[in-house]
Amino acid sequence: MRIDRTHRSWEVATLVLAVVSTVAYIAYAVRSPAGPRGGSALGLTFGIAGYAMMLYAGLLGARKKVPTWRIGRAQTWMRGHIWLGSLSLLLILFHGGFAFRGPLTAVLMILFFIVILSGWTGALIQHFVPSLMTTRVPMETIYEEIPHVRAQLCQEADKLVATVCGPIGSEEAAAEEFGGAVTTLVEIEQEDRARFRDIYLRKLRPYLSDPDSEHAELADLNRTSEVFDSLRRLLAAPVHPVLDDLENICEEEQQLSRQIRVYRWLHSWLLVHVPLSIALLVLGGLHAIMALRY
């Protein structure tokens, strides 16, 4: 979510709560001869309030699973998730008096830091990366549709090349398919035709059929125009419009690759944030039960 002026009220509310909690904590810490403890009245209050906020933040995932439930707009939940989730760290620190004590609490605090850090990383990514996607991937498509679009682009390229060289595949297969005669729309020398076919099959098609291949030099944006310029020099002028179209297809492929990369940046942090958050909530609950019972 983009953190902008629309978050002002949440920022102010969080700040006020943080200041009030801090004042309360300082007053309490100064007055406690044995130092602040989680089991004291105020310590428990901080713990309960902090865990409640963690729970609320964690419920965002559940909220997203029931998008049509009218239990508050998803963006309100998201704002609460960010700001109350952040505030909960402070409250939990006040709850523990900035000490980790036992192994469970130490694990809890490490988890908590990682969750908060990954969360803010995610918030920053979501603040900046959508703009990047918008500007750098003008031909963006639906993520799940990318394999299908790629297959279409590959077919389109084959058809384009077929206008020069006849059907793509082995010469024998092409001849068989077309009853021995290969008809093309672009008139060039037989030698040029064979050269173009060879170049397409060696360089372009491997990239189009497997754009993520590391060996594909066309995956490099800077190299693409160089490759096509050299092809233009190598091949006869009637083929150039076909080369232009092929270059556009390669550029579209590059955009799709870029979209996949940016999409992964946008969402991969969740692979850390979500499981650790669940673990944190479970262990936090365990800690609460153990602390209250024993």
Binding site: T6, V66, T68, R70, I71, A74, Q75, I142, Y263
Partner: protein, 719 residues
């Protein structure tokens, strides 16, 4: 009558006085080539190909020059041959060779003559400005390029058939043949008798060989067809040329003749037996809302009828319009058709999906015909009058009664109207009335679709699309000025019931209820039109036009700088509608915004054009509503240029034709579009967006956004 003695090519001949040289030669076995002359038409001597040397200062046209006593005629002297050759060369210079007729049957008279004269290459340059083709007729192709202005078609139309449709247009170099007042042939009053085509010596008027497919059924002889009242007056030549386009079909009792929603291209004429017309799709609409649990309830979709839940602005029609001479009663949508009834006209003429299922109630014999044949029938004056008489006799009552505001008309008055109303036809693009014209009639739509529009800077502003059962023209008749306030245009083959101003005023005086209802409706329509005009006037039209968003009322806009592509909006929409999303996160980009694929509730709802049962319409609030009698044919989904209408499948029980008395589960579809989740304060897609990226906005507001910082705007336009 005295005889005339003359010599032709050295042969002494005697003919009755008044005989032309052409006829005198022909009667004595001497052939004179000609192009413009036919024995059954008055000679006009325009082509001059029949020139002969009759001893005068100049050569004479044999077809018009009467034989004279002691005249010496030469038809093949060097001078004559040279003149004829030059004439043919001049005609060939402008003739596209081979022309359509030469290609079809190798008998273009001009090209044959040129071949006989040994003309292989034209000495004269071709004209540079093309004269064009006219393909508007379903049965005759007009190629003005191949026309030699011989006027044989004109004389055929006027003298032989007395239809007076064809004539000349332009002068000199610009001259050509014309239909009515130079209308496209298909839009003219041509009755498709085929005489012009038969008369034409070249490929200027040729039969459109559109009958490539062979209809399943028994071929019908032209003689058999002409025994039937409907075909008696149709040109035999035409029927012969189109004999594959009409077949006789036999249906056993219970057999399905056509199903609703299917695409077809034929109409049926019942010869014997009876057929039942009905709708097999449930009369219901898709309702998406939460159950009794309320707060935690999940939205779900189901089919509900008018009795279970009547929506705001839902129609209260008592009948469902279908593509036949009768409408179906809403409560029990079944009707019976018998001998002499025609059904499937809309499908045949406009290629719309079938509007209802037709089953043979008894063993039936029918004629199934393609649209070239139906077009011939409908253009024939006698048959047109018969169809009109049938309509007045059998369907006018139902049609008038299907309009709620005419329900109070007495039978006596309908009987008066019966003899006065006129059934008028228009073809695609015809202007029925123009804004500012004198209002002289009120119209009920019987078939097809009419567009109501007003001129507006940047183009026509569409006010409404009117389908079967709708009516127009009342505003001009009721307001004091007596002028049309909008332009009405036929969008396809349209048939209208025209009630003349006199009868209309008589009706409004005699039935104050009707007048009141019409006045209320006129007021409502005018108010809506004013609002629309005001909106369009305050709109940055160029931007709207370039983005194709001019007609939208509500856009689902995604701010791509906020959107994390999580698809929560799509999932929410699918979740709200039985797993079938009504939005796709793709569409036109405008700056950093994406106008997602979701119903825009267009002001010019193209989705409504062609609905075979008229079940998609606009609410008074301008939202699109799909009425309960949607048959799920999917035409609206096809017509929507933005892909914003979906088909929602449901399992319903239907009679099993294989096992009478038993039912079988079949999948039926209902068209759905974004309903803005009207049961809730906010659409699900917007409500479920965690990133504040999805917004439903009016286009005007959207365009005001552009350039304004989103942070402030987003707060204002979160709905």
């Amino acid at each position: 009558m005295s005889d005339v003695h003359l010599t032709i090519d050295g042969t002494a001949v005697t003919v009755p006085a008044g005989t032309t040289i052409f006829d005198a030669a022909r009667m004595n076995g001497i052939a004179i080539p000609t192009l413009c002359h036919q024995q059954n038409e008055t000679p006009v001597g325009v082509c001059r190909v029949c020139v002969v040397d009759a001893g005068g200062r100049v050569l004479s046209a044999a077809c018009v020059r009467p034989a004279e006593e002691k005249m010496v005629v030469s038809t093949n002297s060097e001078k004559v041959v040279r003149a004829r050759r030059t004439l043919v060369e001049l005609l060939m210079a402008d003739h596209p060779s081979p022309c359509a007729r030469q290609r079809q049957s190798n008998d273009c008279e001009l090209e044959t003559l040129a071949r006989l004269e040994g003309i292989t290459q034209a000495r004269f340059p071709r004209r540079l400005s093309p004269r064009g083709q006219d393909n508007s007729s379903l049965v005759i192709a007009v190629d003005h390029e191949a026309c030699i202005l011989c006027d044989r078609c004109i004389r055929g139309c006027d003298e032989i058939r007395h239809n007076d449709v064809l004539g000349r247009r332009g002068k000199g170099f610009m001259a050509g043949i014309a239909f009515d007042y130079n209308l496209p042939m298909g839009n003219s009053s041509c009755v498709s008798c085929g005489e012009c085509m038969v008369s034409c010596p070249t490929g200027a008027l040729t039969n459109k060989s559109i009958v490539k497919t062979v209809l399943p059924g028994e071929p019908v002889d032209v003689d058999d067809l002409q025994q039937l009242a409907y075909f008696q007056k149709v040109s035999g030549t035409f029927l012969e040329l189109n004999k594959n386009a009409v077949v006789r079909r036999h249906f056993k009792k219970g057999e399905i003749i056509c199903r609703e929603g299917e695409y077809g291209s034929t109409a049926f004429y019942i010869l014997e037996g009876q057929a039942q017309v009905f709708l097999s799709t449930p009369l219901a609409h898709v309702q998406s809302k939460g159950g009794a649990a309320g707060f935690f309830s999940r939205l779900s979709s189901r089919l509900v009828g008018r009795q279970q839940e009547r929506r705001q602005d839902e129609g209260s029609r008592a009948t469902i319009p279908i593509d036949a001479s009768v409408d179906l009663p809403y409560d029990n949508p079944i009707a019976t058709l018998g001998p002499g009834d025609l059904f499937g006209e809309m499908t045949c003429m406009n290629l719309y999906p079938r509007s209802a299922t037709v089953r043979a109630a008894t063993d039936c014999v029918m004629l199934e015909m393609l649209r070239n044949v139906l077009d011939i029938i409908q253009r024939n004056k006698t048959l047109k009058a018969q169809l009109e008489a049938n309509y007045r006799k059998r369907a006018l009552d139902d049609h008038l009664r299907s309009v709620p505001m005419f329900a109070s008309l007495t039978q006596d008055f309908i009987d008066v109207l019966r003899s006065k109303v006129e059934l008028v036809r228009y073809t695609k693009g015809d202007v029925i009335c123009r804004q500012g014209d004198i209002a002289d009639a009120f119209y009920l739509v019987r078939l097809g679709f009419v567009r109501v529009s007003e001129p507006h800077p940047g183009g026509e502003l569409v006010l409404a699309y009117l389908g079967r059962g709708s009516y127009f023209g009342e505003i001009g008749l009721l307001n004091g000025e007596g002028r049309r306030t909008a332009t009405c245009t036929a969008l396809d083959h349209v048939e209208l019931v025209r009630i003349h101003a006199e009868e209309f005023h008589q009706m409004t005086e005699q039935f104050p209820d009707v007048r009141r209802s019409l006045e209320e409706l006129a007021y409502e329509r005018q108010t809506q039109n004013r609002q629309r005009l005001a909106t369009a006037t305050s709109t940055p039209l160029d931007q709207f036009l370039t983005q194709g968003l001019m007609e939208a009322q509500s856009l689902l806009v995604l701010d791509l700088e906020r959107c994390t592509r999580c698809d929560a909006c799509v999932r929410a929409c699918a979740d709200a509608h039985d797993g079938i999303t009504r939005l796709v996160r793709e569409g036109q980009r405008f700056d950093k915004y994406l106008v997602a694929t979701s119903c825009r509730h267009c002001r010019d709802p193209l989705c409504m054009i062609g609905c075979p049962v008229g079940s998609i319409r606009r609410r008074n609030s301008l939202e699109v509503i799909i009425e309960n009698w949607c048959i799920g044919c999917g035409l609206c989904a096809k017509n929507c240029p933005y892909g914003n209408i979906n088909l929602h499948p449901f399992n319903v029980l239907e009679d099993d034709p294989a096992n009478p008395g038993r039912q079988v589960a079949v999948v039926k579809q209902k068209a759905t579009s974004c309903d803005l989740c009207t049961d809730h304060a906010e659409p699900s897609c917007v409500y479920a967006c965690p990133h504040d990226a999805a917004h439903r906005v009016e286009p005007n507001e959207f365009f005001r956004w552009i350039g304004a910082p989103l942070e402030t705007e987003a707060r204002t336009h979160s709905r």
